[in-house]
């Protein structure tokens, strides 16, 4: 997975490996736009639907220009009616389309939970496999500038609990493009969760269509002392921490989980067998989330591998505050990961 190495901050672009040798840099938001355009161009069953997908903002640029290029029957603005619009996308999928339903914030998905949990996730099984729901739901995690309690949630565990759903959370432009294509081509409902803070980060993105397999994590940095399994934007923090810690002589293996369901616990388990130490970092709350599931799976598979107690880096147990001093206190970052690693190694 060479491209997962291409995580980098906008202010600190890094040279990355690429299978063609030529680096083609796109922002995360541009990667999503490109994947969408390729899908619209190649499959007449694909369409994009969501509030404001055709407006000048274009969902932070991820749908910009698509309505002009593909017309209003392929890129549909909607009323404010998240529950029905989700059901409508599901119904279109049952009838053979491959809709991409877009939400500006993950926080709006609870309005459509019934359609997602009771319909999209079950329509295939409930009818003995006779129907299927090839639907992709894109949602964005907000962060910062006082987004507040109702415009900043990730909520990935709510979907990942449900059999029948898949959940992916790419951290790099390469994975964003490849996983979006996989999601749309998948015959199952896939929740595709983006992080606002990643949108302007650039990385290598090959031209033309390619897929990244859903359910596979990737090692984005090899190491021997501790495994840091990170999700979405926390990969940026984990890699920054790993770099800092290298100066202290600590070698971190960073795994970008990429998918939440299926969760690639096998890769993490084999890493922990090597390092004996596990930290899980995710951009959401602690309870009943990825940290818990992953640590438990490693414990089930390889309880003796742990040389120290595992740790979780998550949001604190409170809704998102809006004011800047509280927001600052709310979000963990690379410093917290660095500190956790040191604690884990008693350093």
């Amino acid at each position: 997975m060479p491209w997962t190495k291409s995580i980098s901050k906008p202010d600190a672009p890094k040279k990355t490996a690429s299978n063609t040798g030529i680096e083609r840099r796109l922002k995360y938001s541009e990667a999503i736009l490109e994947a969408t355009a390729e899908l619209l161009a190649s499959d007449p069953n694909v369409f994009v639907i969501g509030e404001g997908v055709d407006d000048s903002g274009g969902v932070f640029g991820t749908t910009r220009g698509l309505a002009e290029r593909f017309g209003p029957k392929r890129v549909l603005d909607t009323p404010l009616a998240e529950n029905a619009m989700t059901g409508i996308a599901i119904g279109a999928a049952i009838a053979g389309m491959r809709p991409i339903l877009v939400h500006m914030r993950m926080d709006f998905t609870p309005l459509s939970m019934d359609q997602i949990i009771n319909h999209a996730a079950k329509w295939h099984y409930m009818f003995g496999g006779r129907a299927k729901v090839p639907l992709t739901i894109r949602g964005i995690i907000g962060r910062g500038w006082g987004s507040g309690a109702q415009h900043s949630q990730s909520l990935h565990p709510l979907f990942a609990h449900i059999p029948g759903l898949k959940v992916v959370m790419p951290a790099t432009p390469y994975d964003a493009k490849g996983l979006l294509r996989s999601a749309v081509l998948d015959d199952n409902p896939v929740i595709f969760i983006e992080h606002r803070r990643l949108f302007d980060i650039a990385g290598h993105v090959p031209e033309g269509p390619y897929t990244v397999e859903i359910g596979k994590a990737a090692v984005s940095r090899y190491g021997t002392d501790v495994t840091i399994a990170a999700l979405s934007q926390m990969n940026i923090e984990a890699l920054a921490a790993a770099e800092t810690l290298e100066n202290d002589g600590i070698s971190c293996e960073v795994i970008d989980l990429r998918s939440v369901k299926p969760l690639d616990s096998a890769l993490v388990t084999s890493s922990v067998r090597k390092t004996g130490r596990l930290i899980v970092a995710e951009p959401g709350w602690r309870d009943f989330a990825v940290g818990a599931e992953l640590i438990t799976r490693v414990a089930e598979e390889a309880i003796d591998a742990f040389r120290a107690a595992p740790m979780r880096i998550t949001l604190p147990e409170c809704p998102t505050p809006a004011g800047p001093s509280l927001e600052e206190a709310f979000y963990p970052g690379s410093i917290d990961i660095t500190a956790a690693v040191k604690r884990l190694l008693n350093k």
Binding site: P79, A95, G96, M97, H119
Partner: protein
């Protein structure tokens, strides 16, 4: 029912079609009555929501549809499936939880499907099927296909926000969809006026600038006429119609027995509605208008009896799905 076809504006309706409509209603009734007979043996191990008394709606509406047209239905779906062309065998088998069931034993009575006949599934979440049907109508529009979607739902489902949001979108985009609200005046044991401020369901359509029509749901020709108009309207690209068809469910909300003993509904109310049996009305109409003789009707009934025996036999003889089937069909 009225006196003759012309009083419905249905003078061109053919005799075979009228007979087919009668047969369909009777097939639904007898299918449901068979469940009433067999349910106490406890071999059908799932909740059943019977539509006895409401047969004219599924029948009248589906008689206006072609095989390719889509239907989404709800927990009370047996009649919709049968009217749209599903065979009795896979239906009974599903209710018995058998591997030969239309949903391979995974759905039960509340989750029936028959893709080949355009039946795209039934949701047991009240109102849950409504947006799905609007979605399949959107798919037809986007693909320029000449297909209409019919959504069956109850007076309870009408109260869900899903209805409102879905109807607005269907009207906004002039989608080829017909909303058929079977108003049987109750949601479980709650009467309509304990739940709805106005109790004028079909009037709601005008808030969306769309057509709404209220019909006697126990008069299969009135239903047929309204549905035919609505389907034509939809096929022309003129958008949705909301049909409110008033009727009554003879049995309890769930299960095989009447429910007046519980005290939530009265025996008098039921008896009144039994007098307005949609099938009796239609057989009277056919006799009066020389569409079928009493003899022919007996033959029809006997044929259905045989069909049911065969279907139940098929269902009962079919194997249960193996436990290994549990983990298939989770993902496509």
């Amino acid at each position: 029912m009225r006196n003759d076809l012309s009083s419905y504006g249905l003078t061109t309706m053919t005799k075979p079609l009228l007979v087919r409509i009668y047969v369909t209603m009777l097939r639904i009734r007898m299918f449901e009555e068979k469940i009433v007979e067999l349910y106490p043996t406890q071999e059908m191990k799932c909740p059943v929501h019977l539509c006895i008394g409401q047969e004219a709606i599924a029948t009248g509406v589906c008689a206006t549809l072609e095989k390719k047209d889509y239907v989404f239905s709800n927990h009370r779906g047996h009649g919709h499936l049968l009217a749209k062309g599903c065979l009795m065998g896979p239906l009974f088998a599903e209710i018995y939880g058998k591997a030969t069931g239309c949903s391979r034993g995974k759905g039960g009575s509340m989750h029936l499907i028959d893709i080949d006949n355009g039946i795209m599934g039934t949701s047991a979440i009240v109102g849950g099927g409504i947006p799905l049907g609007v979605g399949s109508a959107l798919a037809s529009q986007l693909r320029n296909e000449d297909r209409v979607t019919v959504i069956f739902f109850g007076d309870g489902a009408f109260e869900e926000g899903a209805f409102y949001e879905s109807f607005n979108f269907a009207a906004l985009k002039s989608l080829p969809v017909v909303f058929v609200c079977e108003n049987n005046f109750y949601a479980t044991n709650s009467p309509q006026n304990a739940r709805q401020a106005a109790c004028r369901i079909s009037d709601t359509a005008s808030a969306f600038g769309s057509r709404g029509v209220c019909v006697d749901g126990n008069d299969v020709l009135e239903v047929y006429k309204a549905a035919a108009d609505a389907v034509l309207h939809a096929r022309k690209g003129l958008g949705p119609t909301l049909i409110e068809a008033r009727t009554y469910r003879w049995k309890g909300h769930v299960g095989h027995e009447p429910d007046y003993a519980n005290g939530d509904r009265t025996k008098e109310e039921l008896d009144d509605w039994i007098k307005r049996c949609p099938i009796d009305a239609m057989s009277g109409f056919m006799l009066k208008n020389n569409i079928a003789s009493a003899d022919e009707m007996v033959r029809v009934k006997n044929a259905i009896d045989a069909e049911i025996e065969a279907a139940v036999g098929f269902a009962r003889r079919s194997p249960l799905p193996a436990p290994t089937e549990l983990l298939t069909d989770v993902y496509a």
